[in-house]
Amino acid sequence: MSFVIECENLVKIFKGTPPVTALDNVNLRVPKGSIYGLFGPNGAGKSTLIAILMGLTLPTRGVARVLGHDVLRESLEVRRKVGLLPEGFGFYDNMTALENLKYLGLLDEIPGDSVEQRAREVLEKAGLGDRVNAKVSTFSRGMKQRLGIAQALLKDPEMLIFDEPTVGIDPDGVMEFRRFVREIVKEGRTVFLSTHLLRDLGMVCTHTAILRKGRVVAQGSMEELTRKMKSSMGYSYEIRVKPEDLERLLKEVENLPGVFEVRLEGEGRISLVSREDIGGELFSLLSRGQYSVEAMVSSKPEWEDLYRFYSEEGG
Protein backbone atom coordinates (compact mmCIF):
# COMPACT_ATOMS: atom_id res chain seq x y z
CA MET A 1 0.00 0.00 0.00
CA SER A 2 1.38 3.41 -0.86
CA PHE A 3 0.88 6.40 1.39
CA VAL A 4 0.30 9.99 0.35
CA ILE A 5 0.93 11.47 3.79
CA GLU A 6 3.55 10.13 6.17
CA CYS A 7 4.34 11.80 9.47
CA GLU A 8 7.05 10.53 11.76
CA ASN A 9 7.30 11.78 15.32
CA LEU A 10 5.97 15.14 14.30
CA VAL A 11 6.14 17.70 17.09
CA LYS A 12 4.95 21.28 17.06
CA ILE A 13 5.47 23.51 20.05
CA PHE A 14 4.28 27.10 19.87
CA LYS A 15 6.50 29.47 21.78
CA GLY A 16 4.89 31.41 24.57
CA THR A 17 4.49 31.41 28.29
CA PRO A 18 3.83 28.62 28.80
CA PRO A 19 4.75 26.97 25.48
CA VAL A 20 1.88 25.11 23.86
CA THR A 21 2.44 21.63 22.46
CA ALA A 22 0.06 21.53 19.52
CA LEU A 23 1.37 18.23 18.12
CA ASP A 24 3.01 15.60 20.27
CA ASN A 25 4.91 12.90 18.36
CA VAL A 26 2.33 12.43 15.67
CA ASN A 27 2.80 9.36 13.49
CA LEU A 28 0.35 9.16 10.63
CA ARG A 29 0.01 7.29 7.36
CA VAL A 30 -2.67 8.16 4.88
CA PRO A 31 -3.23 5.52 2.19
CA LYS A 32 -3.50 6.62 -1.41
CA GLY A 33 -7.08 6.82 -2.68
CA SER A 34 -8.62 6.94 0.79
CA ILE A 35 -11.00 9.39 2.39
CA TYR A 36 -9.09 10.03 5.55
CA GLY A 37 -10.84 11.74 8.43
CA LEU A 38 -8.84 13.48 11.10
CA PHE A 39 -11.19 13.78 14.03
CA GLY A 40 -10.71 15.71 17.20
CA PRO A 41 -12.18 18.49 19.30
CA ASN A 42 -11.32 22.14 18.79
CA GLY A 43 -7.72 22.77 19.77
CA ALA A 44 -6.67 19.15 19.22
CA GLY A 45 -4.03 20.19 16.68
CA LYS A 46 -5.84 19.34 13.43
CA SER A 47 -5.34 22.71 11.75
CA THR A 48 -1.73 22.85 12.92
CA LEU A 49 -1.08 19.49 11.29
CA ILE A 50 -2.65 20.70 8.04
CA ALA A 51 -0.63 23.94 8.23
CA ILE A 52 2.57 21.90 8.52
CA LEU A 53 1.61 19.66 5.61
CA MET A 54 0.97 22.72 3.42
CA GLY A 55 4.16 24.51 4.48
CA LEU A 56 2.33 27.28 6.31
CA THR A 57 3.95 26.39 9.62
CA LEU A 58 7.23 24.69 10.40
CA PRO A 59 7.39 21.62 12.62
CA THR A 60 9.50 21.83 15.76
CA ARG A 61 10.72 18.25 15.28
CA GLY A 62 9.97 15.25 13.15
CA VAL A 63 9.42 14.54 9.49
CA ALA A 64 6.40 14.94 7.26
CA ARG A 65 6.12 13.87 3.64
CA VAL A 66 3.27 14.59 1.28
CA LEU A 67 3.11 12.66 -2.00
CA GLY A 68 6.71 11.67 -1.31
CA HIS A 69 7.89 15.28 -0.91
CA ASP A 70 9.43 16.56 2.29
CA VAL A 71 7.22 19.39 3.50
CA LEU A 72 10.22 21.45 4.58
CA ARG A 73 12.49 21.13 1.58
CA GLU A 74 9.97 20.58 -1.18
CA SER A 75 7.06 22.64 0.01
CA LEU A 76 6.56 24.25 -3.39
CA GLU A 77 6.19 20.83 -5.01
CA VAL A 78 3.64 19.85 -2.35
CA ARG A 79 1.66 23.01 -3.06
CA ARG A 80 1.74 22.22 -6.78
CA LYS A 81 0.05 18.88 -6.19
CA VAL A 82 -2.25 19.43 -3.23
CA GLY A 83 -5.43 21.48 -3.13
CA LEU A 84 -6.37 23.05 0.18
CA LEU A 85 -9.73 24.22 1.42
CA PRO A 86 -8.86 26.09 4.61
CA GLU A 87 -11.24 26.62 7.48
CA GLY A 88 -13.38 29.68 6.77
CA PHE A 89 -12.69 29.23 3.01
CA GLY A 90 -11.07 32.66 2.32
CA PHE A 91 -12.04 34.61 -0.80
CA TYR A 92 -11.76 38.11 -2.17
CA ASP A 93 -15.31 39.26 -1.56
CA ASN A 94 -15.04 42.23 -3.92
CA MET A 95 -14.27 39.93 -6.85
CA THR A 96 -16.57 37.56 -8.72
CA ALA A 97 -16.28 33.79 -8.43
CA LEU A 98 -14.63 33.64 -11.85
CA GLU A 99 -12.19 36.47 -11.07
CA ASN A 100 -11.19 34.76 -7.83
CA LEU A 101 -10.51 31.50 -9.60
CA LYS A 102 -8.70 33.09 -12.53
CA TYR A 103 -6.34 34.85 -10.14
CA LEU A 104 -5.71 31.71 -8.09
CA GLY A 105 -5.44 29.63 -11.25
CA LEU A 106 -2.66 31.82 -12.61
CA LEU A 107 -0.82 31.37 -9.32
CA ASP A 108 -1.42 27.62 -9.74
CA GLU A 109 0.65 27.88 -12.92
CA ILE A 110 -2.25 27.34 -15.28
CA PRO A 111 -1.40 29.05 -18.58
CA GLY A 112 -3.10 32.39 -19.09
CA ASP A 113 -4.95 31.29 -22.22
CA SER A 114 -6.63 28.32 -20.55
CA VAL A 115 -7.18 29.59 -17.01
CA GLU A 116 -10.68 30.94 -17.67
CA GLN A 117 -11.82 27.69 -19.25
CA ARG A 118 -10.43 25.69 -16.33
CA ALA A 119 -12.08 28.07 -13.81
CA ARG A 120 -15.43 27.66 -15.55
CA GLU A 121 -15.01 23.86 -15.57
CA VAL A 122 -14.44 23.60 -11.83
CA LEU A 123 -17.20 26.11 -11.07
CA GLU A 124 -19.56 23.98 -13.11
CA LYS A 125 -18.38 20.87 -11.28
CA ALA A 126 -18.96 22.54 -7.92
CA GLY A 127 -22.50 23.46 -8.97
CA LEU A 128 -21.79 27.16 -9.35
CA GLY A 129 -22.10 27.35 -13.11
CA ASP A 130 -24.88 29.91 -12.81
CA ARG A 131 -22.98 32.12 -10.33
CA VAL A 132 -19.78 32.56 -12.32
CA ASN A 133 -20.04 36.34 -12.53
CA ALA A 134 -21.59 36.95 -9.11
CA LYS A 135 -19.55 38.74 -6.47
CA VAL A 136 -18.43 36.45 -3.68
CA SER A 137 -19.86 38.91 -1.14
CA THR A 138 -23.33 37.81 -2.28
CA PHE A 139 -22.61 34.11 -1.66
CA SER A 140 -24.10 32.08 1.19
CA ARG A 141 -21.76 30.02 3.36
CA GLY A 142 -22.73 26.88 1.48
CA MET A 143 -21.90 28.51 -1.84
CA LYS A 144 -18.57 29.71 -0.46
CA GLN A 145 -17.82 26.15 0.56
CA ARG A 146 -18.52 24.97 -2.99
CA LEU A 147 -16.39 27.78 -4.36
CA GLY A 148 -13.70 26.67 -1.93
CA ILE A 149 -13.85 23.17 -3.34
CA ALA A 150 -13.64 24.62 -6.84
CA GLN A 151 -10.51 26.60 -5.98
CA ALA A 152 -8.94 23.52 -4.41
CA LEU A 153 -9.68 21.55 -7.60
CA LEU A 154 -8.31 24.23 -9.94
CA LYS A 155 -4.80 22.84 -10.09
CA ASP A 156 -6.16 19.33 -10.74
CA PRO A 157 -4.56 18.09 -7.51
CA GLU A 158 -3.58 14.56 -6.63
CA MET A 159 -4.78 15.14 -3.11
CA LEU A 160 -7.26 17.47 -1.46
CA ILE A 161 -7.08 18.70 2.10
CA PHE A 162 -10.25 20.05 3.68
CA ASP A 163 -10.03 21.76 7.04
CA GLU A 164 -13.36 21.74 8.88
CA PRO A 165 -15.30 21.85 5.60
CA THR A 166 -18.82 21.49 7.00
CA VAL A 167 -18.81 24.04 9.82
CA GLY A 168 -21.86 26.25 9.44
CA ILE A 169 -23.20 24.27 6.48
CA ASP A 170 -26.85 23.14 6.44
CA PRO A 171 -27.72 19.39 6.28
CA ASP A 172 -28.37 19.49 2.53
CA GLY A 173 -24.98 21.09 2.01
CA VAL A 174 -23.31 18.42 4.16
CA MET A 175 -24.97 15.64 2.15
CA GLU A 176 -23.88 17.32 -1.06
CA PHE A 177 -20.36 17.61 0.28
CA ARG A 178 -20.25 13.89 1.13
CA ARG A 179 -21.46 13.04 -2.37
CA PHE A 180 -18.82 15.33 -3.81
CA VAL A 181 -16.03 13.79 -1.75
CA ARG A 182 -16.98 10.28 -2.89
CA GLU A 183 -17.03 11.49 -6.47
CA ILE A 184 -13.58 13.05 -6.41
CA VAL A 185 -12.08 9.99 -4.76
CA LYS A 186 -13.47 7.91 -7.63
CA GLU A 187 -11.34 10.07 -9.93
CA GLY A 188 -8.26 8.67 -8.21
CA ARG A 189 -7.59 11.46 -5.75
CA THR A 190 -7.06 11.18 -2.02
CA VAL A 191 -9.09 13.28 0.40
CA PHE A 192 -7.74 14.23 3.80
CA LEU A 193 -10.25 16.07 5.91
CA SER A 194 -10.30 17.34 9.44
CA THR A 195 -13.42 17.90 11.47
CA HIS A 196 -14.87 17.93 14.91
CA LEU A 197 -18.31 17.21 13.43
CA LEU A 198 -18.10 13.43 13.48
CA ARG A 199 -21.75 12.92 12.62
CA ASP A 200 -21.37 15.01 9.44
CA LEU A 201 -18.36 13.34 7.93
CA GLY A 202 -17.67 10.12 9.82
CA MET A 203 -19.76 8.02 7.48
CA VAL A 204 -17.90 9.12 4.36
CA CYS A 205 -14.43 8.21 5.65
CA THR A 206 -12.66 5.00 4.78
CA HIS A 207 -9.88 5.66 7.26
CA THR A 208 -9.57 7.79 10.30
CA ALA A 209 -7.27 9.13 12.96
CA ILE A 210 -8.41 10.54 16.26
CA LEU A 211 -6.37 13.42 17.52
CA ARG A 212 -6.58 14.50 21.12
CA LYS A 213 -4.40 17.12 22.79
CA GLY A 214 -1.93 16.88 19.92
CA ARG A 215 -1.63 13.09 20.07
CA VAL A 216 -2.98 10.49 17.67
CA VAL A 217 -4.90 8.18 19.97
CA ALA A 218 -6.15 5.86 17.25
CA GLN A 219 -5.84 5.39 13.52
CA GLY A 220 -6.76 2.86 10.91
CA SER A 221 -9.59 1.84 8.65
CA MET A 222 -13.11 2.37 9.95
CA GLU A 223 -13.72 -1.42 10.12
CA GLU A 224 -10.62 -1.99 12.21
CA LEU A 225 -11.47 0.75 14.64
CA THR A 226 -15.12 -0.28 14.98
CA ARG A 227 -14.22 -3.94 15.49
CA LYS A 228 -11.68 -3.09 18.15
CA MET A 229 -14.10 -0.86 19.96
CA LYS A 230 -16.93 -3.40 19.88
CA SER A 231 -14.75 -6.22 21.13
CA SER A 232 -13.79 -4.05 24.05
CA MET A 233 -17.10 -2.35 24.76
CA GLY A 234 -19.47 -5.13 23.72
CA TYR A 235 -22.52 -5.37 21.46
CA SER A 236 -25.66 -3.74 22.85
CA TYR A 237 -29.24 -4.82 22.27
CA GLU A 238 -32.59 -3.62 23.50
CA ILE A 239 -35.76 -5.76 23.42
CA ARG A 240 -39.29 -4.65 24.23
CA VAL A 241 -41.87 -7.35 25.03
CA LYS A 242 -45.24 -7.48 26.77
CA PRO A 243 -44.87 -7.18 30.60
CA GLU A 244 -46.07 -10.78 31.18
CA ASP A 245 -43.11 -12.13 29.11
CA LEU A 246 -40.48 -10.04 30.85
CA GLU A 247 -39.43 -12.43 33.66
CA ARG A 248 -39.18 -15.46 31.35
CA LEU A 249 -37.11 -13.58 28.76
CA LEU A 250 -34.79 -12.16 31.40
CA LYS A 251 -33.82 -15.67 32.55
CA GLU A 252 -33.25 -16.88 28.99
CA VAL A 253 -31.04 -14.02 27.80
CA GLU A 254 -28.84 -14.24 30.90
CA ASN A 255 -27.87 -17.74 29.77
CA LEU A 256 -26.89 -16.72 26.25
CA PRO A 257 -23.13 -17.12 25.56
CA GLY A 258 -21.08 -13.94 25.94
CA VAL A 259 -23.76 -11.87 27.66
CA PHE A 260 -22.21 -10.06 30.58
CA GLU A 261 -24.72 -7.36 31.41
CA VAL A 262 -28.53 -7.50 31.49
CA ARG A 263 -30.72 -4.69 32.77
CA LEU A 264 -34.48 -4.21 33.20
CA GLU A 265 -35.23 -0.76 31.88
CA GLY A 266 -38.98 -0.63 32.74
CA GLU A 267 -41.97 -0.49 30.37
CA GLY A 268 -41.21 -4.05 29.25
CA ARG A 269 -37.69 -3.21 28.06
CA ILE A 270 -34.57 -5.30 28.57
CA SER A 271 -31.15 -4.10 27.57
CA LEU A 272 -28.19 -6.40 27.35
CA VAL A 273 -24.53 -6.27 26.39
CA SER A 274 -22.60 -9.16 24.89
CA ARG A 275 -18.95 -9.71 24.03
CA GLU A 276 -19.94 -11.15 20.67
CA ASP A 277 -22.51 -10.42 18.03
CA ILE A 278 -25.48 -12.49 19.23
CA GLY A 279 -28.13 -10.89 17.01
CA GLY A 280 -28.89 -14.20 15.29
CA GLU A 281 -29.19 -16.15 18.56
CA LEU A 282 -31.48 -13.52 20.05
CA PHE A 283 -33.72 -13.59 17.04
CA SER A 284 -34.12 -17.38 17.12
CA LEU A 285 -34.65 -17.31 20.90
CA LEU A 286 -37.46 -14.82 20.55
CA SER A 287 -39.16 -16.82 17.81
CA ARG A 288 -38.65 -20.14 19.53
CA GLY A 289 -40.06 -18.90 22.84
CA GLN A 290 -43.07 -17.33 21.14
CA TYR A 291 -42.56 -14.00 22.86
CA SER A 292 -44.81 -11.14 21.96
CA VAL A 293 -41.98 -8.89 20.81
CA GLU A 294 -42.78 -5.23 20.28
CA ALA A 295 -39.29 -4.16 19.26
CA MET A 296 -35.71 -5.36 19.08
CA VAL A 297 -32.88 -2.93 18.49
CA SER A 298 -29.22 -3.65 17.99
CA SER A 299 -27.52 -0.39 18.88
CA LYS A 300 -24.81 0.52 16.43
CA PRO A 301 -21.97 2.61 17.76
CA GLU A 302 -22.27 6.28 16.87
CA TRP A 303 -19.27 8.22 15.67
CA GLU A 304 -19.31 9.93 19.02
CA ASP A 305 -18.97 6.53 20.72
CA LEU A 306 -15.98 5.75 18.57
CA TYR A 307 -14.38 9.07 19.37
CA ARG A 308 -15.20 8.78 23.10
CA PHE A 309 -13.90 5.25 23.29
CA TYR A 310 -10.55 5.99 21.70
CA SER A 311 -10.16 9.33 23.42
CA GLU A 312 -10.62 7.71 26.81
CA GLU A 313 -8.42 4.79 25.87
CA GLY A 314 -5.66 6.98 24.52
CA GLY A 315 -5.89 9.99 26.69
Binding site: T48, L56, G83, G188
Partner: protein
Protein backbone atom coordinates in the same frame (compact mmCIF):
# COMPACT_ATOMS: atom_id res chain seq x y z
CA UNK B 1 -3.81 13.74 -16.70
CA UNK B 2 -4.21 14.58 -13.05
CA UNK B 3 -1.66 16.72 -11.28
CA UNK B 4 0.68 18.04 -13.89
CA UNK B 5 -1.38 18.03 -17.06
CA UNK B 6 -1.72 21.71 -17.81
CA UNK B 7 0.88 23.48 -15.74
CA UNK B 8 3.72 25.69 -16.77
CA UNK B 9 6.31 26.54 -14.16
CA UNK B 10 6.56 30.29 -13.77
CA UNK B 11 9.63 32.44 -13.13
CA UNK B 12 9.43 34.51 -9.92
CA UNK B 13 8.92 37.79 -11.80
CA UNK B 14 5.80 36.45 -13.48
CA UNK B 15 4.37 35.35 -10.14
CA UNK B 16 5.13 38.78 -8.70
CA UNK B 17 3.42 40.48 -11.64
CA UNK B 18 0.29 38.30 -11.27
CA UNK B 19 -0.03 39.41 -7.66
CA UNK B 20 0.87 43.03 -8.48
CA UNK B 21 -1.73 43.18 -11.25
CA UNK B 22 -4.46 41.92 -8.95
CA UNK B 23 -3.44 44.32 -6.18
CA UNK B 24 -3.32 47.20 -8.64
CA UNK B 25 -6.80 46.51 -9.99
CA UNK B 26 -8.07 46.21 -6.42
CA UNK B 27 -6.56 49.61 -5.66
CA UNK B 28 -7.92 51.24 -8.78
CA UNK B 29 -11.50 50.30 -7.92
CA UNK B 30 -11.12 51.06 -4.22
CA UNK B 31 -12.80 54.12 -2.71
CA UNK B 32 -9.67 54.62 -0.67
CA UNK B 33 -7.57 55.54 -3.72
CA UNK B 34 -10.11 57.93 -5.17
CA UNK B 35 -10.59 59.59 -1.82
CA UNK B 36 -6.86 60.18 -1.54
CA UNK B 37 -6.59 61.45 -5.10
CA UNK B 38 -9.50 63.79 -4.36
CA UNK B 39 -7.77 65.04 -1.19
CA UNK B 40 -4.55 65.64 -3.13
CA UNK B 41 -6.30 67.46 -5.94
CA UNK B 42 -8.41 69.49 -3.58
CA UNK B 43 -5.33 70.47 -1.66
CA UNK B 44 -3.44 71.50 -4.81
CA UNK B 45 -6.43 73.37 -6.17
CA UNK B 46 -6.99 75.13 -2.85
CA UNK B 47 -3.33 76.12 -2.84
CA UNK B 48 -3.47 77.43 -6.39
CA UNK B 49 -6.75 79.30 -5.91
CA UNK B 50 -5.75 80.85 -2.60
CA UNK B 51 -2.53 82.06 -4.19
CA UNK B 52 -4.47 83.25 -7.18
CA UNK B 53 -6.76 85.19 -4.86
CA UNK B 54 -3.91 86.78 -2.90
CA UNK B 55 -1.98 87.61 -6.10
CA UNK B 56 -5.05 89.27 -7.57
CA UNK B 57 -4.84 91.80 -4.73
CA UNK B 58 -1.21 92.57 -5.60
CA UNK B 59 0.03 95.03 -8.16
CA UNK B 60 0.86 93.56 -11.58
CA UNK B 61 4.65 93.58 -11.01
CA UNK B 62 4.36 91.54 -7.79
CA UNK B 63 2.43 88.65 -9.40
CA UNK B 64 4.18 85.32 -10.02
CA UNK B 65 6.22 85.06 -13.15
CA UNK B 66 7.59 81.59 -12.57
CA UNK B 67 5.64 78.41 -11.88
CA UNK B 68 7.94 77.49 -8.97
CA UNK B 69 6.75 80.56 -7.07
CA UNK B 70 3.33 78.96 -6.90
CA UNK B 71 4.69 75.56 -5.91
CA UNK B 72 7.15 76.80 -3.31
CA UNK B 73 4.81 75.98 -0.44
CA UNK B 74 3.83 72.57 -1.79
CA UNK B 75 6.58 70.71 0.10
CA UNK B 76 5.28 71.27 3.61
CA UNK B 77 1.72 70.40 2.65
CA UNK B 78 2.62 67.26 0.72
CA UNK B 79 4.68 66.31 3.77
CA UNK B 80 1.39 66.25 5.63
CA UNK B 81 -0.64 64.27 3.07
CA UNK B 82 1.84 61.92 1.37
CA UNK B 83 2.36 59.71 4.46
CA UNK B 84 -1.35 58.89 4.41
CA UNK B 85 -1.04 57.72 0.86
CA UNK B 86 1.66 55.28 1.97
CA UNK B 87 -0.20 54.24 5.11
CA UNK B 88 -3.49 53.75 3.23
CA UNK B 89 -1.98 51.08 0.98
CA UNK B 90 0.34 49.50 3.52
CA UNK B 91 -1.50 49.16 6.80
CA UNK B 92 -3.65 46.19 5.73
CA UNK B 93 -1.57 44.80 2.88
CA UNK B 94 -0.90 41.50 4.66
CA UNK B 95 -3.12 41.64 7.75
CA UNK B 96 -6.30 42.02 5.65
CA UNK B 97 -5.41 38.80 3.80
CA UNK B 98 -4.80 37.13 7.14
CA UNK B 99 -8.09 38.39 8.58
CA UNK B 100 -10.17 37.32 5.59
CA UNK B 101 -8.49 33.92 5.33
CA UNK B 102 -7.21 34.58 1.80
CA UNK B 103 -3.59 34.41 2.93
CA UNK B 104 -3.82 30.66 3.48
CA UNK B 105 -5.48 30.21 0.09
CA UNK B 106 -2.70 32.28 -1.49
CA UNK B 107 0.14 30.51 0.30
CA UNK B 108 -1.33 27.11 -0.57
CA UNK B 109 -0.33 27.89 -4.17
CA UNK B 110 3.16 27.32 -5.57
CA UNK B 111 4.34 30.84 -4.70
CA UNK B 112 7.10 32.03 -2.42
CA UNK B 113 6.17 34.40 0.35
CA UNK B 114 8.62 36.93 -1.07
CA UNK B 115 6.53 36.92 -4.25
CA UNK B 116 3.49 38.02 -2.25
CA UNK B 117 5.38 40.90 -0.60
CA UNK B 118 7.04 41.90 -3.87
CA UNK B 119 3.72 41.88 -5.72
CA UNK B 120 2.20 44.15 -3.13
CA UNK B 121 5.20 46.50 -3.20
CA UNK B 122 5.19 46.77 -7.01
CA UNK B 123 1.50 47.56 -7.01
CA UNK B 124 1.79 50.09 -4.15
CA UNK B 125 4.68 51.86 -5.89
CA UNK B 126 2.65 52.09 -9.08
CA UNK B 127 -0.48 53.36 -7.34
CA UNK B 128 1.31 55.89 -5.13
CA UNK B 129 3.46 57.02 -8.05
CA UNK B 130 0.50 57.47 -10.40
CA UNK B 131 -1.44 59.36 -7.71
CA UNK B 132 1.44 61.72 -6.94
CA UNK B 133 2.50 62.35 -10.53
CA UNK B 134 -1.08 62.75 -11.77
CA UNK B 135 -1.98 65.16 -8.98
CA UNK B 136 1.18 67.21 -9.60
CA UNK B 137 0.59 67.17 -13.37
CA UNK B 138 -2.99 68.36 -12.97
CA UNK B 139 -1.94 71.04 -10.49
CA UNK B 140 0.81 72.27 -12.83
CA UNK B 141 -1.61 72.32 -15.75
CA UNK B 142 -4.14 74.30 -13.69
CA UNK B 143 -1.44 76.75 -12.63
CA UNK B 144 -0.26 77.25 -16.20
CA UNK B 145 -3.83 77.82 -17.30
CA UNK B 146 -4.78 80.19 -14.46
CA UNK B 147 -1.64 82.30 -14.42
CA UNK B 148 -0.69 81.99 -18.05
CA UNK B 149 2.75 80.73 -17.04
CA UNK B 150 5.06 78.52 -19.02
CA UNK B 151 7.15 75.70 -17.71
CA UNK B 152 10.81 75.45 -18.65
CA UNK B 153 13.19 72.50 -18.41
CA UNK B 154 14.47 73.56 -14.99
CA UNK B 155 10.92 73.82 -13.60
CA UNK B 156 10.15 70.43 -15.09
CA UNK B 157 13.28 68.92 -13.49
CA UNK B 158 12.43 70.44 -10.11
CA UNK B 159 8.81 69.28 -10.21
CA UNK B 160 9.82 65.81 -11.34
CA UNK B 161 12.39 65.56 -8.57
CA UNK B 162 9.86 66.89 -6.07
CA UNK B 163 7.46 64.14 -7.15
CA UNK B 164 10.21 61.52 -6.88
CA UNK B 165 11.13 62.66 -3.36
CA UNK B 166 7.43 62.68 -2.46
CA UNK B 167 7.12 59.14 -3.84
CA UNK B 168 10.13 58.04 -1.78
CA UNK B 169 8.63 59.73 1.26
CA UNK B 170 5.19 58.15 0.81
CA UNK B 171 6.88 54.81 0.09
CA UNK B 172 8.85 55.09 3.33
CA UNK B 173 5.56 55.30 5.20
CA UNK B 174 4.18 52.47 3.06
CA UNK B 175 7.09 50.23 4.02
CA UNK B 176 6.66 50.98 7.73
CA UNK B 177 2.91 50.24 7.47
CA UNK B 178 3.65 47.07 5.51
CA UNK B 179 5.94 45.97 8.30
CA UNK B 180 3.24 46.63 10.91
CA UNK B 181 0.80 44.76 8.69
CA UNK B 182 3.02 41.68 8.58
CA UNK B 183 3.85 41.69 12.28
CA UNK B 184 0.37 42.47 13.64
CA UNK B 185 -2.67 40.25 13.21
CA UNK B 186 -5.26 42.96 12.92
CA UNK B 187 -5.42 45.75 10.35
CA UNK B 188 -6.85 48.09 12.99
CA UNK B 189 -3.76 47.65 15.16
CA UNK B 190 -1.50 48.15 12.17
CA UNK B 191 -3.33 51.36 11.25
CA UNK B 192 -3.01 52.70 14.79
CA UNK B 193 0.71 51.87 14.89
CA UNK B 194 1.27 53.56 11.50
CA UNK B 195 -0.63 56.71 12.48
CA UNK B 196 1.20 56.79 15.81
CA UNK B 197 4.50 56.78 13.92
CA UNK B 198 3.26 59.55 11.63
CA UNK B 199 2.17 61.60 14.67
CA UNK B 200 5.52 60.99 16.30
CA UNK B 201 7.50 62.28 13.31
CA UNK B 202 5.06 65.06 12.40
CA UNK B 203 3.95 66.43 15.76
CA UNK B 204 5.82 64.99 18.73
CA UNK B 205 9.37 64.96 17.40
CA UNK B 206 9.40 68.60 16.22
CA UNK B 207 8.05 69.61 19.62
CA UNK B 208 10.69 67.59 21.46
CA UNK B 209 13.33 69.02 19.15
CA UNK B 210 12.14 72.57 19.86
CA UNK B 211 12.12 71.95 23.61
CA UNK B 212 15.65 70.55 23.52
CA UNK B 213 16.83 73.55 21.48
CA UNK B 214 15.24 76.01 23.89
CA UNK B 215 16.70 74.17 26.86
CA UNK B 216 20.18 74.26 25.34
CA UNK B 217 20.11 77.65 23.65
CA UNK B 218 17.60 79.53 25.78
CA UNK B 219 14.54 81.35 24.53
CA UNK B 220 15.43 83.51 21.49
CA UNK B 221 15.86 87.23 22.06
CA UNK B 222 14.27 89.80 19.79
CA UNK B 223 17.64 90.45 18.15
CA UNK B 224 18.07 86.82 17.20
CA UNK B 225 14.95 86.67 15.08
CA UNK B 226 16.81 87.06 11.82
CA UNK B 227 17.21 83.65 10.09
CA UNK B 228 20.83 84.56 9.51
CA UNK B 229 21.58 85.05 13.22
CA UNK B 230 23.87 82.65 15.07
CA UNK B 231 20.99 81.63 17.30
CA UNK B 232 18.91 80.31 14.42
CA UNK B 233 21.87 78.64 12.79
CA UNK B 234 22.55 76.76 16.03
CA UNK B 235 18.84 76.11 16.43
CA UNK B 236 18.67 74.62 12.93
CA UNK B 237 21.72 72.44 13.63
CA UNK B 238 20.25 71.16 16.88
CA UNK B 239 16.91 70.61 15.23
CA UNK B 240 18.57 68.61 12.45
CA UNK B 241 20.52 66.51 14.96
CA UNK B 242 17.57 65.70 17.21
CA UNK B 243 15.46 64.77 14.19
CA UNK B 244 18.18 62.84 12.45
CA UNK B 245 15.95 59.76 12.17
CA UNK B 246 12.83 61.65 11.18
CA UNK B 247 11.73 60.90 7.62
CA UNK B 248 9.60 64.05 7.60
CA UNK B 249 12.56 66.23 8.48
CA UNK B 250 14.73 64.80 5.72
CA UNK B 251 11.94 65.06 3.18
CA UNK B 252 11.53 68.76 4.02
CA UNK B 253 15.30 69.22 3.93
CA UNK B 254 15.45 67.83 0.39
CA UNK B 255 12.32 69.34 -1.10
CA UNK B 256 13.03 72.81 0.30
CA UNK B 257 15.93 73.61 -2.08
CA UNK B 258 14.24 71.73 -4.95
CA UNK B 259 11.17 73.97 -4.82
CA UNK B 260 13.01 77.19 -3.90
CA UNK B 261 13.94 78.75 -7.22
CA UNK B 262 15.34 82.13 -6.35
CA UNK B 263 15.34 83.55 -9.88
CA UNK B 264 14.88 82.51 -13.47
CA UNK B 265 18.66 82.09 -13.74
CA UNK B 266 18.80 79.78 -10.72
CA UNK B 267 19.36 76.38 -12.33
CA UNK B 268 18.83 73.30 -10.23
CA UNK B 269 21.89 71.14 -9.60
CA UNK B 270 21.19 67.59 -8.46
CA UNK B 271 24.85 66.89 -7.76
CA UNK B 272 25.03 69.91 -5.45
CA UNK B 273 21.89 68.82 -3.64
CA UNK B 274 23.15 65.27 -3.08
CA UNK B 275 26.52 66.52 -1.86
CA UNK B 276 24.83 69.01 0.47
CA UNK B 277 22.33 66.62 1.97
CA UNK B 278 23.75 63.11 1.71
CA UNK B 279 22.30 62.08 5.07
CA UNK B 280 18.81 63.18 4.07
CA UNK B 281 19.03 61.18 0.86
CA UNK B 282 20.37 58.23 2.78
CA UNK B 283 17.63 58.32 5.44
CA UNK B 284 14.89 58.66 2.84
CA UNK B 285 16.30 55.58 1.08
CA UNK B 286 17.14 53.72 4.27
CA UNK B 287 13.62 53.65 5.71
CA UNK B 288 11.98 51.74 2.84
CA UNK B 289 15.01 49.46 2.50
CA UNK B 290 15.12 48.54 6.18
CA UNK B 291 11.39 48.12 6.62
CA UNK B 292 10.91 46.16 3.40
CA UNK B 293 13.70 43.79 4.48
CA UNK B 294 12.14 43.49 7.94
CA UNK B 295 8.78 42.75 6.33
CA UNK B 296 10.39 40.00 4.24
CA UNK B 297 12.03 38.48 7.30
CA UNK B 298 8.91 38.61 9.46
CA UNK B 299 6.56 37.41 6.73
CA UNK B 300 8.71 34.55 5.50
CA UNK B 301 9.31 33.28 9.02
CA UNK B 302 5.86 33.84 10.38
CA UNK B 303 3.69 30.84 11.14
CA UNK B 304 0.28 31.03 9.54
CA UNK B 305 -1.77 28.76 11.78
Amino acid sequence: MMGTGFREKRPPLKRVMIIARKEFSDAVVSRRLWLLIAVFLLYYLAMIFSLSFSYSMMPEEARPTRIMQVFQGAGSSVALIAPFLGIAFGYDAVSRERESGTLKVLLARPVYREDVVNGKIVSALAVIGITLFTATFLAVSATMFLYGLNIDLDDFTRLTLFSIFSLMFAFAYYSVSLFFSTILNKSGHSLIASIALWAFFTIIMPLISMMIAFMMLGVPSFASFSPESDYWKKYAELNYMTQIFSINNHYSTLTGPVLAKASKQDVFDLFKLSSQYPISLMVLTMYPTVFVILSYIVFTRREEK
